[in-house]
């Protein structure tokens, strides 16, 4: 079905650099986010590789202690603020959300472009902080180390995070208004694809939570420069206050990272099971429940930081409460596959890999939420393994599932299905080998952020480093076949997966203004069984 005449698409209707840098097209902005986030992922990945290389031996023989401390700090900063938080909302959300709504663009296209610039400025600040000496506080910036003791670029990095936060707020605001105001005729709330529900919930957290991290980094800068006592006890402040403020944003931020990939997974599993999602409204409302409960659990990061035993009880209980909606989602995804017509194309393999890793990440959260166990595993490699299973095994796998699903729509080209499956398996195996042994290390008592460690921990650390090298191969492979598909890939066609959803009703790559005519929606999402399948 290759078209004879060159079609007009959002990619080829204008070619100048200015047409990209000044674009108000949500699709082009999505692509520009893709480039920056991929660069940040590469940067964070280099730091991760250095960490794993250093930890292959118990002695500190590759880099100095100070360099090591900067490595894990910059790994965390790059990955959390410039990869995990923007990956799915800013790349896939920007590109897909207006298409799924049957809209021409987001509600505020200029604001959307501004978000990208704010994001890039924040990123440049952070990169500047990294290349001009780095920062060594850990991505958590705990006081009083960050406010008094560290003589690295704490303020420049904090400023980078502060600025980037506004990009996150503006994107959240933009999406929220878009979802309220720009739905196609007939696209009622309960006909929305679940990806939209996930983005809506995420936007809520972005708008309500992000200002708090801005306040926190600002307060840190004030204390550092003006010696105004907020967090430093010598100046009359309280270091634990910082932890409360930091986690009041940074725990909900975990849901900014995981909710959108969850939404993408709902799309992929429904599409490749050729079925309605099982329990649509439960999956939709579980996103909202996670977004709301997510604000009430921050102090579970402080169980050994001197909070009262009674408030620890409350936060432990609420943490178990927030686990339930995630469990509900997982069971619904599994049930969706029941009596489906399961087409095991690459995105579905990525989604199944997501399920496997997210399960481990979610279930190990039950250990860290358990007060009596958390006292032992807090600040050990158990926690490192747990949150990497959620953030990399969950969020990044979900991002790749979504990217593989929508890649033909974004580029108009099809990548190699077999290589994409091979990459998914390599990443899955490498990931488990990297982070699986860390659970054992953590329960043995190996603390996190250790540059040198006792020799009895070496075997498990070597396994972990070996896993990391496999993981790196998997990620590089993805970059190779996706880039190759742009040049040599087959034409994807409008709807290569025969999926429902308005994004598949327009051409690939889409028109500059998305749809030739205003789409009208007459049925629920994922109505595969009612659908007249046309052979394209």
């Amino acid at each position: 079905m290759t078209a004879a005449a060159p079609r007009v698409t959002y990619l080829n209707h204008e070619h100048t650099v200015a047409s990209w840098l000044l674009t108000k097209d949500h699709k082009r902005i999505g692509i520009m986010y893709l480039l920056v986030v991929t660069f940040a992922f590469f940067l964070g990945g280099i730091f991760a590789s250095m960490i794993r290389l250093e930890l292959a031996t118990p002695a500190g023989d590759l880099v100095s202690a100070d360099t090591y401390n900067k490595m894990f700090t910059m790994h965390g900063v790059a990955m959390v603020f410039f990869v995990l938080i923007p990956a799915v909302p800013a790349i896939l959300g920007n590109f897909i959300l207006p298409l799924q709504l049957g809209a021409k663009d987001v509600a505020f296209p200029k604001l959307n472009l501004l978000s990208w610039y704010v994001f890039v400025i924040g990123f440049l600040f952070t990169v500047y902080a990294m290349v001009s000496g780095g920062v060594d506080t850990g991505w958590t910036f705990y006081t009083p180390y960050s406010s008094r003791a560290s003589n690295t670029n704490v303020v420049a990095t904090g400023l980078g995070v502060f600025i980037t936060g506004f990009s996150s707020i503006l994107t959240g605001l933009n999406f929220m208004v878009t979802i309220h105001r720009m739905r196609a005729p007939g696209l009622t709330w309960f006909r929305l694809p679940l990806f939209v529900w996930a983005l809506y919930s995420t936007s809520l957290v972005q708008i309500l939570g992000t200002p708090v991290i801005a306040i926190t980094t600002l307060a840190l800068a004030v204390e550092r420069f003006l010696h105004f006592g907020i967090f430093d006890p010598v100046l009359g402040g309280d270091p634990v206050l910082f932890q409360h403020m930091f986690w009041f944003y940074s725990h909900p931020a975990v849901y900014i990272m995981i909710l959108p990939p969850m939404g993408a997974i709902s799309e992929v599993i429904a599409a490749f099971s050729r079925k309605s999602i099982f329990g649509y409204s439960f999956v939709a409302f579980s996103s909202l429940a996670i977004a709301i409960f997510g604000f009430l659990v921050w102090a579970h990061h402080l169980f050994v930081a001197g909070i009262s035993v009674y408030s620890a009880l409350v936060f432990s209980f609420l943490t178990y409460a927030v686990a339930i909606p995630s469990a509900v989602k997982t069971f619904n995804w599994a049930a969706t596959m029941y009596r489906g017509a399961i087409w095991l194309k690459a995105p579905m393999i990525w989604a199944i890999a997501f399920l496997g890793l997210f399960l481990v990440g979610g279930l190990t959260g039950l250990f860290t939420a358990a007060l009596g166990v958390d006292v032992h595993i807090h600040d050990t490699y158990f926690v490192v393994a747990h949150f990497h299973f959620i953030m990399v095994g969950g969020a990044i796998m979900g991002y790749f599932a979504g990217l593989h699903y929508w890649w033909p729509k974004i580029t108009g080209k099809m990548y190699s299905d077999i290589w994409a499956k091979v990459a998914a398996i390599i990443v899955f195996v490498g990931f488990n080998l990297t982070f699986g042994p860390q659970f054992i290390l953590g329960y043995l008592g190996m603390p996190r952020r250790y540059h040198v460690y006792p020799p009895e921990f070496q075997v498990l650390n070597v396994l972990s480093s070996a896993g990391a090298s496999i993981l790196a191969v998997g990620y590089i492979l993805i970059a190779i076949y996706l880039v190759a598909s742009i040049f040599w890939g087959e034409e994807a066609g409008d709807n290569p997966w025969h999926a429902t959803g308005l994004e598949w009703t327009t051409q690939s790559p889409p028109l500059p203004h998305n749809f030739a005519a205003q789409p009208i929606v007459t049925e629920d999402a994922y109505e595969y069984s009612k659908r007249e399948i046309k052979v394209v």
Binding site: A65, D136, P144, Y145, R148, A149, P233, V234, V240, S273, R274, S276, G279, Y280, F303, V304, G306, I307, V309, Y320, I324, A327, V328, T330, N332, A334, A335, M337, Y338, R339, G340, A341, I342, W343, L344, L355, L363, T364, F367, A370, L371, G372, V373, V375, H376, H378, D379, T380, I440, Y443, L444, G445, P447, R449, H451, P455, E456, H498, Y528, I533
Partner: protein, 332 residues
């Protein structure tokens, strides 16, 4: 335990087995549900697999009873874990009445331990087996965390506050002490060992390493060197309140509030005397912030403790009302 590959940590305290039992229970529950879900997903993927992209799945939209079942059952299971883990948590942070007391200070990058008999140790802690040991500690600079993996307990060392951990060691030998909260360059070098000894060997160690009198005696010397004794007269007629027999009691403050006199209050009164002023006294006392090290503050605290009438309990934990429940922060 210092060599070879280990997969499970040694249980070297009375509470370690309790923590491990809970851990293994959660492991069993999560492994069951994790494997069950994985098997179901793989089974569905294999059984309903099709190569025909035009085939569609069955028309199923959901099931309320199923949704309720997989919401309520996991919730009930988490309640069991929650209650059990809260129980273990209270045990971990609530020391028994009679404990061997030790003071510790974390500073970049070492742990300094002070015994009541006056011995000081750096990055080593000698304790007798079979006896409950309570460590009261703070940090002199940034956050640290005093972590005894073999005893399954830790607490953050927070500048400006006292934290406590307690344990009853059961296995003679050396076990790791780690700093678990990142504290800068040599964070991973801030490690040490706890040496658990036979009680008789411990007594021998104590007598073999005496250094310049007990901790309380050192505190007494400081009390006069710093001229505390010129105001805090023992007959109560000085410009400051008498400290005799005060530790463990409570005191009425200016403004009507009362405060329990514990380690944290004594520390605060030395470093920030105006923060909680005893009723009827003028705010005359200067601050000793920056003039007295955390170790010396601990010696002074111990001296104030020793002024209790009943000196028999001076080596043991003070009465119930201020000793429990003891979270690290409660000693503010």
């Amino acid at each position: 335990m210092f060599s070879g590959l280990s997969l499970f940590p040694q249980q070297a305290s009375t509470l370690a087995a309790d923590v491990d039992a809970l851990y293994l229970f959660i492991l069993a529950v999560t492994a069951f549900f994790g494997i069950l879900t994985t098997v179901v997903v793989i089974y569905f993927a294999a059984k309903y697999r099709t190569e025909d992209p035009l085939k569609v799945g069955a028309r199923i939209h959901g099931s309320i009873p199923l949704e309720l079942a997989w919401s309520v059952i996991p919730f009930l299971i988490t309640i069991v874990i929650f209650v059990w883990s809260a129980h273990v948590f209270f045990d971990l942070y609530r020391p028994p009445d009679q404990t061997l007391e030790i003071y510790a200070t974390g500073k970049r990058w070492m742990w300094k331990f002070q015994h009541l008999d006056g011995q000081n140790e750096i990055n080593e802690l000698h304790v007798p087996a079979g006896r409950a040991v309570k460590v009261t500690f703070t940090s002199e600079d940034v956050l640290h965390s005093l972590f005894f993996p073999a005893f399954r307990t830790k607490a953050d060392a927070i500048p400006g506050r006292y934290s406590t951990v307690w344990f009853t060691p059961t296995i003679i030998g050396e076990h790791h002490i780690f700093c678990a909260e990142y504290c800068g360059t040599n964070h991973s070098g801030m490690i040490g060992k706890v040496v658990v000894m036979e009680p008789t060997a411990y007594e021998a160690w104590l007598t073999g390493t005496v250094a310049g009198g007990s901790l309380a005696q050192r505190g007494e010397r400081l009390f006069s060197d710093l001229a505390c004794n010129t105001c805090h007269l023992s007959d109560g007629r000085g410009r400051g309140p008498s400290l005799a027999n005060k530790f463990g009691a409570s005191e009425r403050l200016t403004g009507g509030a009362t405060v329990a006199i514990d380690e944290a209050y004594v520390r605060e009164s030395i470093l920030r005397p105006q923060a909680k002023l005893v009723d009827g006294y003028q705010p005359l006392m200067p601050t000793f912030q920056g003039l007295v090290s955390e170790e010396n503050v601990m010696a002074l605290v111990e001296y104030v403790k020793s002024l209790r009438a009943n000196t028999a309990v001076s080596r043991a934990e003070a009465p119930e009302e201020h000793a429990s429940p003891t979270a690290p922060q409660e000693n503010r």
